[in-house]
C-alpha cells in the first residue's frame, strides 16, 4: 500500500515554524543577549572585557537600588489598586447607566476613554500644570483659596511619589474600565433576573454574580496593567524626571537612564533582567491564584 503524503494542513509544525523562527530571532535572541550583557562590563563605548556577577553584586549592594525597588513597588501597587477600583466602579456605573438608559452614560465612557488616548508624556505635562508649586498650579491654587497653604507636590519626596501615582491612576483607570466594561457586557442578563427572583440585593448581585463572573477580565486587567505600569516611565519622565533626588525613579526609568544617559550597557541589562524577573514572578502569581480559584 502506497504511503499517503500528508497534506500541509496535517503538518502543524510546518505552519508554526515561521512564527517560531521569528520569535527566536526577534524575541528570544535579544533576551538572551541582554542576559549575556548583564553579566558583563559592557558599555555603549566598550565591548565586554570581563564576565561575571559584578553588575548584580554592585546593584544589590547599592542603597539606591533598594530605594528604587521600594519606589517601584509603591508606584505599581498604588496605581494598580486604585486604577482597578475606579475602573470597576466606572464600568459598573456606565454599564448600569446604559442599561437603564440614563442620559450621558455613553458620553461618560467616551470621556474616561479619552484620558487613555493621551500620550503618557502629555499626561505628565497636564499633571505638572495641575500640581505645580508655583501659583499657576491648579491644585495649590484651590488649596490656597481654602486653607491658605501650599503643598510641595513635586519637590517633596513623599508627595512626589503620591503625585506620580495619582497621575498614573488618572490615565490607567480608563484602561481598566474598558476591560471590565467589556466583561460586564458578557454577563447574561438572565442571571441577574434569576437573582432578583431569589430576592438578592444589589450588593449580593454584585458580590456573588458580577465579581466571580468578571474574574477572567480582572485577571487580564491586572496582568496587563501590572506589566504596563512596571515597564512605563514616560509620565514620570515628564512630571518629575525621577526627582526630587531619586524619589520617583522607578526601575524602568533607571534602565533607560543607565543605558541612554550613562551608556552603561552591563548595568542597564542587569536592571532589565531584574525587571523581567519581577514581571515574570507577578505573572506567575496572578496566573496561579486566578486559575486556582477558577478551578475551585
Amino acid at each position: 500500500m502506497a504511503k499517503r503524503h500528508k497534506s500541509l494542513q496535517e503538518q502543524p509544525l510546518l505552519w508554526i515554524a515561521p512564527l517560531v523562527l521569528l520569535l527566536l530571532a526577534f524575541y528570544l535572541y535579544p533576551m538572551i543577549d541582554v542576559a549575556r550583557l548583564s553579566f558583563s562590563n559592557a558599555t555603549l563605548l566598550r565591548n565586554p572585557s570581563k564576565y561575571g556577577l559584578m553588575q548584580y553584586t554592585s546593584l544589590f549592594s547599592s542603597s539606591d537600588f533598594g530605594q528604587m525597588i521600594v519606589v517601584t513597588l509603591k508606584y505599581v501597587a498604588g496605581s494598580l489598586f486604585f486604577q482597578v477600583l475606579f475602573g470597576l466602579l466606572i464600568a459598573v456605573l456606565v454599564h448600569e447607566g446604559k442599561k437603564r438608559k440614563v442620559p450621558g452614560a455613553v458620553l461618560t465612557r467616551s470621556v474616561v476613554l479619552s484620558c487613555w488616548i493621551i500620550p503618557a508624556p502629555a499626561i505628565g505635562i497636564i499633571w505638572k500644570i495641575i500640581l505645580s508649586e508655583f501659583d499657576y498650579g491648579i491644585a495649590n491654587h484651590l488649596i490656597g483659596s481654602f486653607f491658605d497653604q501650599h503643598l510641595a507636590f513635586l519637590s517633596n519626596e513623599r508627595l512626589a511619589i503620591f503625585s506620580v501615582i495619582v497621575a498614573n491612576i488618572w490615565c490607567g483607570t480608563a484602561f481598566s474600565m474598558l476591560i471590565l466594561y467589556s466583561g460586564l457586557q458578557q454577563i447574561p442578563e438572565s442571571l441577574y433576573e434569576a437573582a432578583v427572583v431569589d430576592g438578592a440585593t444589589e450588593f449580593q448581585k454584585f458580590r456573588y454574580l458580577t465579581l466571580p463572573l468578571l474574574r477572567p477580565f480582572l485577571f487580564t486587567d491586572l496582568s496587563l496593567a501590572t506589566i504596563y505600569t512596571f515597564n512605563s516611565f514616560g509620565l514620570i519622565m515628564s512630571l518629575t524626571a525621577g526627582g526630587p533626588g531619586r524619589s520617583t525613579e522607578v526601575l524602568a526609568m533607571s534602565v533607560y537612564r543607565t543605558i541612554f544617559d550613562r551608556m552603561n550597557l552591563g548595568r542597564g541589562a542587569a536592571l532589565s533582567m531584574v525587571l523581567l524577573v519581577v514581571n515574570l514572578v507577578i505573572a506567575i502569581v496572578y496566573n496561579k491564584s486566578f486559575f486556582k480559584k477558577t478551578q475551585a
Partner: protein
C-alpha cells in the same frame, strides 16, 4: 548579417553617446529647472552621482522651529547644491530636540559598526565620548585641519578650539554656535549686579524686608544637566576641577572637594535662609523656570543667556525689560567669575577622501562661515572671534551683544567621557541638598562613590 550590423551600429552609437556624456560632467550633473533642492530626505540634485549622508539635528536644519534659521539654511543649502550638482546629501536621520540622548547613542553604535553618516550634528556634551580609545570605533571624527586655513582655525575662540581638538592636535569638529550661563538680575531693584553670593543674599534679604519680593532666586534644581552645569560655574571659579589631565574624576579630592562642598553648602544656605525656595528641586527645564519667574518676578535667575528668547513671551516684554544679565557671582570675593558654555558641533565621519572633501564643502558652505553661524545661532552666540565683535543676528536683540561679552570668561565642560556620569550623580546630590535630605558632605560622597563604582 543585417541583424549583426544593426546591433553593432546601436552599440557604437551608445558608446559614443556615453563617452560624450562622461566627458562633460556639467552636462550630466546639471539640475533640472524647478527641482526642489531642499527636500526633507535629500538636499541637492536628487540624481547626483555622489552621495553624502547626514544626521541632522532638526533645530539646525531646514526644518528648524526657528523660522529664520529654516529660511536661511534653505537658502544656503540651495546655493551649495547649485554649485555641487554632482553631489547630493541624503538626510538619514532628523532628530528632534527631546531625542538627543537616543540620537547620540545611535551615532555611537553606528560609528562602532562602521556605518556612521558622512557628517552629523553632535551635541558638544557628547563629543568627548568619540575620543575614547577603548570604544573600538570603526569610524572616528575626521580632522578638519586639511580644509581650513590657519586664519580660519585661529578665528575660533580658544576654549572651543581646544575642546574640539584631539590628542594629535587635530580639530575634529566645527563648533557651530554656543551659549553661556549667566545671572539675570532685576535692574529696577538694584543699581549694580552682585559679584559674590554673599552680596546676593544681602540684596535679597533687604528686598524681602522691604516686602518688594517674595522669592530671591530661581534656578533649575531638578534632574537636568543644567542643574549641575549652573553650579559648576561657582565650582570652577573657586578653583575646582572635575577631572585630571588624564580625564579621571578628581572632584572629591583635595581642593576640588572643598570647592564642590562650598558650592553645595551655598545651595543649602540659600534654601535655609529663605533666599531660594526648595521647590526649585522640581524645576527641570527652562519652561518650568520661566513659569516660575512669571509668578514671582524674582530679583535673580540663575540660568542661561538663552531665556531672552522665551521669557519675554511668558512674562511680557515690559516685565522682561526689567532684567539684565551679569556674570555668575563667585563664592568668595576676589575669585574670577566663570560662565559655562555649551552648544552643538558638526562632525565629519566620511572615510572616502573624495566624499570627505564634499562633506566638508557642504559643512562649511552651509554652517561654516559667518553667515552660516548667523543662520543657526538665532538665539545663541558665535564661536568665531571676528563674528562676535558685534554679534546681533537680529536687530531687535540687544541681549546677544551682552551675552557675547561673556565669551571672554566662557569655559566648556571637560572633554572627558566621565563628565556625563559626574553630572548625573551630582544632579541627584544637588536635589538631595536642596531638599535637606542629605548634608553636602554625604551627598558629595555618595555621588563620588557612584561615579567610582562605574570603574573610573
Amino acid at each position: 548579417m543585417r541583424v549583426k550590423r544593426t546591433f553593432f551600429a546601436i552599440v557604437l552609437i551608445a558608446a559614443v553617446a556615453m563617452s560624450v556624456w562622461a566627458a562633460d560632467p556639467s552636462a550630466v550633473w546639471s539640475i533640472k529647472e524647478g527641482t526642489n533642492l531642499v527636500k526633507p530626505e535629500v538636499y541637492g540634485n536628487p540624481n547626483a552621482k555622489n552621495t553624502i549622508t547626514f544626521w541632522v539635528y532638526r533645530t539646525l536644519g531646514p526644518s528648524s522651529n526657528y523660522p529664520r534659521t529654516a529660511e536661511l539654511l534653505t537658502e544656503r543649502i540651495e546655493s551649495w547644491a547649485k554649485k555641487n550638482p554632482d553631489t547630493k546629501v541624503e538626510v538619514q536621520i532628523e532628530i528632534p530636540q527631546e531625542k538627543t540622548n537616543e540620537y547620540m547613542v545611535k551615532l555611537y553604535e553606528a560609528a562602532k559598526a562602521g556605518r556612521a553618516p558622512s557628517l552629523a550634528h553632535v551635541d558638544s556634551f557628547f563629543l568627548p565620548k568619540f575620543l575614547e580609545k577603548d570604544a573600538g570605533f570603526k569610524q572616528v571624527p575626521q580632522p578638519l585641519d586639511p580644509y581650513l586655513t590657519k586664519a580660519e582655525l585661529d578665528n575660533y575662540f580658544d576654549a572651543y578650539r581646544q575642546f574640539a581638538t584631539d590628542e594629535n592636535g587635530k580639530m575634529i569638529a566645527h563648533f557651530g554656535y554656543t551659549d553661556v550661563r549667566v545671572l539675570w538680575y532685576r535692574k529696577d531693584l538694584m543699581s549694580a549686579p552682585p559679584k559674590t553670593w554673599d552680596e546676593v543674599i544681602a540684596i535679597v534679604k533687604k528686598l524681602q524686608a522691604e516686602k518688594k519680593i517674595t522669592e530671591g532666586i530661581l534656578t533649575q534644581g531638578g534632574r537636568h544637566e543644567n542643574t549641575f552645569f549652573f553650579m559648576l560655574n561657582m565650582f570652577w571659579a573657586a578653583g575646582g576641577e572635575l577631572v585630571d589631565a588624564k580625564g579621571n574624576p578628581v572632584f572629591n579630592q583635595g581642593k576640588n572637594r572643598e570647592a564642590m562642598l562650598a558650592s553645595l553648602r551655598l545651595y543649602k544656605k540659600l534654601v535655609d535662609q529663605g533666599v531660594m525656595p526648595a521647590k526649585v528641586a522640581s524645576i527641570s527645564g527652562t519652561g518650568d523656570l520661566n513659569a516660575g519667574v512669571k509668578m514671582t518676578m524674582p530679583p535673580f535667575i540663575l540660568t542661561g543667556h538663552w531665556i531672552h528668547g522665551s521669557l519675554p513671551q511668558v512674562i511680557g516684554e515690559e516685565n522682561f525689560s526689567k532684567y539684565a544679565m551679569a556674570p555668575i557671582p563667585t563664592l568668595e570675593k576676589g575669585q574670577n567669575p566663570v560662565s559655562g558654555a555649551g552648544g552643538w558641533t558638526t562632525v565629519i565621519f566620511e572615510k572616502d577622501p573624495e566624499l570627505r572633501a564634499k562633506a566638508f564643502s557642504f559643512l562649511w558652505e552651509v554652517y561654516g562661515d559667518v553667515k552660516g553661524m548667523a543662520a543657526v545661532a538665532v538665539d545663541a552666540l558665535p564661536t568665531f572671534k571676528d563674528v562676535s565683535v558685534d554679534w546681533r543676528p537680529t536687530e531687535a536683540n540687544p541681549y546677544l551683544y551682552q551675552a557675547t561679552k561673556m565669551l571672554n570668561i566662557a569655559r566648556l565642560r571637560p572633554a572627558a567621557p566621565v563628565y556625563s556620569d559626574i553630572s548625573l550623580a551630582m544632579q541627584v546630590a544637588i536635589g538631595d541638598v536642596i531638599l535637606g535630605k542629605k548634608t553636602p558632605e554625604k551627598a558629595l560622597d555618595d555621588a563620588w562613590s557612584e561615579v567610582k563604582a562605574l570603574g573610573y
